[in-house]
Structures are given as structure tokens and as C-alpha cells.
């Protein structure tokens, strides 16, 4: 296993090609759930969990169903169905066996069943690692690492944003910029700071 490439994938998806700040995936939860730190944290957790899980599931679908039968064009349809239904399944499972966890966590799971960041990581995985026939375990590891780290990057930016927005509540922001507009300006400035990570080499 080439660890170097794995590390590169991880760093790239957390910092350089951060899902929110550079790929613009998952902007709805980013703007919607970043007003307070606590919900932002749970949202990040849920996204990370679902991204990792759906990376595994879509890896299985692609390598055991789509590629062997040459029906890759059904990728969009099958991924979306599989992700949505498995998230629902996980949600029901948690609701049944751990109601306390479900109480703080469940609503976020429901919110992201058709989230573009989750779907995006699956599509990205298939473009990057699954299209070319490869060793199965190898592609699984790459998919899982990319899925997990995409979630970590998402959580990090969401948390930073929520901290800033809590502070912005006390700020004298012009009336027409309050709420979403200033959130986008903050995101833009954060994205500028993240540009510093461009061109990393290890």
C-alpha cells in the first residue's frame, strides 16, 4: 500500500480541495447549521459518519454490480438510492437501539440523506479510484480514507464557521449583509486563507 499517496489524498481532501471551501459541496448544511457550535459539531459528526459509510456501500455497488455487468451508466441512479436507503436504515437502527443518541443525532441524519456532499464523495470516489479496474482492497482503502477525510474537512470548516458566526451575532454588521450574505463573505475569506495550502508536496 503506498502510504504516501494515501496521505496525499487525505491532506488534499481536508485542506486543498476542502469540500466546502473549494468544491462547494454541502453548502446547505454549511449555511444552515453553522449558527451555533453544538449543532454544527453533531452535523459534522453525522456527515463524517454517513460519508464513510456511503463510501463503503457505493464501493461495493460499483465493484460488484455496476462494473461486472457493464452498467456504469446507472451510477447516479443506483448510488442515490443505495445511499438514501442505507442512511434511512442506519437512522432506524439508531432510533431502535440507542434512543438517547438518536435524540441529538437523528435529525441530522435525516437532513443529509440526499446531501450533495455525501453523494459527491461517492461520485468522486468512483471517478478517482473505481473507474479503472484495480485491486479491490486497495480501492476500498482509498475510498474509505477519502470519504472519512472529506467528512473531517467538512466538520473542521463547519466548526470554525460556527465559532465565527456566534461572534458575528455581537457585531455591528450592516443590515442588508446580516445572515447569509456575511456568512458567504466569511466563507470567502476562509477560502482565501485555505489557498495557502495550494501546491503542497510531500
Amino acid at each position: 500500500m503506498d502510504l504516501n499517496r494515501l496521505l496525499m489524498v487525505a491532506i488534499s481532501v481536508i485542506f486543498i480541495n476542502n469540500f466546502i471551501l473549494s468544491k462547494f459541496l454541502g453548502l446547505c448544511p454549511f449555511i444552515g447549521v453553522s449558527k451555533k457550535t453544538e449543532p454544527a459539531f453533531y452535523m459534522g459528526l453525522a456527515v463524517t459518519f454517513v460519508m464513510t459509510a456511503s463510501s463503503i456501500i457505493t464501493w461495493a455497488v460499483y465493484s460488484f454490480l455496476l462494473r461486472p455487468f457493464h452498467i456504469e451508466y446507472l451510477r447516479t441512479l443506483s448510488f442515490i438510492l443505495v445511499i438514501a436507503s442505507s442512511v434511512q436504515l442506519i437512522e432506524m437502527f439508531i432510533q431502535k437501539f440507542n434512543p438517547a443518541l438518536y435524540k441529538v443525532f437523528g435529525i441530522y441524519l435525516a437532513l443529509i440523506t440526499t446531501n450533495c456532499a455525501v453523494f459527491g464523495v461517492a461520485v468522486l470516489n468512483s471517478e478517482m479510484f473505481l473507474k479503472v479496474a484495480d485491486n479491490l482492497t486497495r480501492s476500498l482503502v482509498f475510498c474509505v480514507v477519502q470519504g472519512f477525510c472529506a467528512g473531517v474537512g467538512f466538520t473542521m470548516v463547519l466548526l470554525l464557521m460556527s465559532g465565527i458566526r456566534e461572534r458575528l451575532e455581537l457585531c455591528n454588521v450592516p443590515r442588508s449583509m446580516k445572515g447569509m450574505p456575511i456568512a458567504f463573505i466569511v466563507a470567502s475569506l476562509m477560502s482565501m486563507a485555505f489557498m495557502g495550502f495550494m501546491g503542497f508536496r510531500f
Partner: protein
């Protein structure tokens, strides 16, 4: 007729998906680097919205309400797959430029939102007009944002140089520029409408 016109116009103005409802922002920001990309994306999304609205409204009496969301998703994903394949065959360069955002139309909140909020409750013709209006409104927003970004970030409009000697600010076609433009545009629209 008047009612149909109203369904059509509301998507462009008071219920504009991008500026008023803040839906479907992900593709809006990601691919609005040039006018051609923005327009192509807008057309593709319009096709999907109109198509899914049409099918959803015509079978709205048949689907049991418990499984309506999954069946909407299947309908939408089917149209997205059609767009994907057609684009890949006839507009390969556009397909390459839009990248993963073509399959991502399937999870665009505008599409599912219209299917659930409008098409599942209204007749076929009205749903088609609603879809058209939303699609055109989305395309309009995309073209507006991509015009600004292309002009400042590349110094061109539709690939033609506007002012000789203008040195484009690279930032505008990169990620921070997209967030900056949408933030300022939203603030500007708030400022104008709050009067």
C-alpha cells in the same frame, strides 16, 4: 393563461431559487466560472426540473404517499442520467467542464423541492410551467454570477476581451471569488428590496 404566466414568472422573480430561496447553491458556485458553463448547467437543470415535474404531477394520484420521496428520486435520477449521457455524447467539452456537477443535479435541492412542494399537488400543465420558471430563474442567476466572474476573473465576456489592458483578478474564477460574488450579490439584493 394568466395563471400559467404567473407560475412561470414567480420562479424568475419573487421565488428565485438562488437569490430568494438559497437553494441549489453548490452547482451555482462551483461551475459559474464562465458564461458558457453557467448557461449549459442552467439548461441541463431546467430540462431535469421540467421533466421530473411533468412525470411527478402526472402520476401523483398513483404513488402512495409513504414511498413518494424515493420514487421522486428515481424519476429525477433517470432524467439526470439522460442529461449525463446526452451531454457526454454531444457536448463532451461542456461535460468535462461541469464534471461531477452533472450527476449532482440529482441531489440539487431545487429539483426535489419542486417535485415535493409543487408537482405532487398540481396538474401537469401548471407543473411544467412552474418547472420552466424555476429552471429559467436558476439559469438567470447562474448566467448573472458567471458573467461577473468571467468579466472580473478572466477579463472576457463569452470569451471575447472586453477592455484592452485590463488585468483580470484571478481570484474571481477561483473558489474565494465565487463565495465573494454570491455574498455581495445577496447583500445587494437585500439592500435594494429592503427600501
Amino acid at each position: 393563461m394568466k395563471r400559467l404566466l404567473r407560475e412561470f414568472l414567480k420562479g424568475i422573480t419573487i421565488e428565485n431559487p438562488t437569490f430568494r430561496l438559497a437553494l441549489g447553491l453548490c452547482p451555482t458556485l462551483a461551475i459559474s466560472t464562465s458564461i458558457v458553463n453557467g448557461f449549459g448547467m442552467g439548461l441541463a437543470a431546467t430540462f431535469v426540473i421540467v421533466g421530473s415535474n411533468m412525470i411527478v404531477s402526472s402520476i401523483r394520484g398513483v404513488i402512495p404517499s409513504k414511498i413518494r420521496i424515493p420514487s421522486f428520486i428515481v424519476i429525477i435520477a433517470t432524467f439526470v442520467t439522460i442529461v449525463e449521457l446526452v451531454m457526454k455524447a454531444y457536448f463532451p467539452s461542456l461535460s468535462k467542464a461541469l464534471g461531477i456537477f452533472v450527476p449532482l443535479i440529482a441531489v440539487n435541492c431545487i429539483v426535489l423541492g419542486r417535485a415535493e412542494a409543487f408537482a405532487s399537488k398540481h396538474g401537469v400543465v401548471r407543473s411544467i410551467f412552474d418547472g420552466l420558471g424555476m429552471g429559467v430563474g436558476f439559469t438567470f442567476a447562474l448566467v448573472l454570477i458567471s458573467t461577473i466572474r468571467e468579466a472580473f476573473g478572466n477579463g472576457t465576456l463569452l470569451g471575447l476581451i472586453i477592455v484592452k489592458g485590463f488585468e483580470p483578478a484571478l481570484l474571481f474564477i477561483l473558489a474565494p471569488g465565487a463565495l465573494l460574488v454570491i455574498g455581495i450579490l445577496m447583500g445587494f439584493i437585500n439592500h435594494v428590496t429592503e427600501r
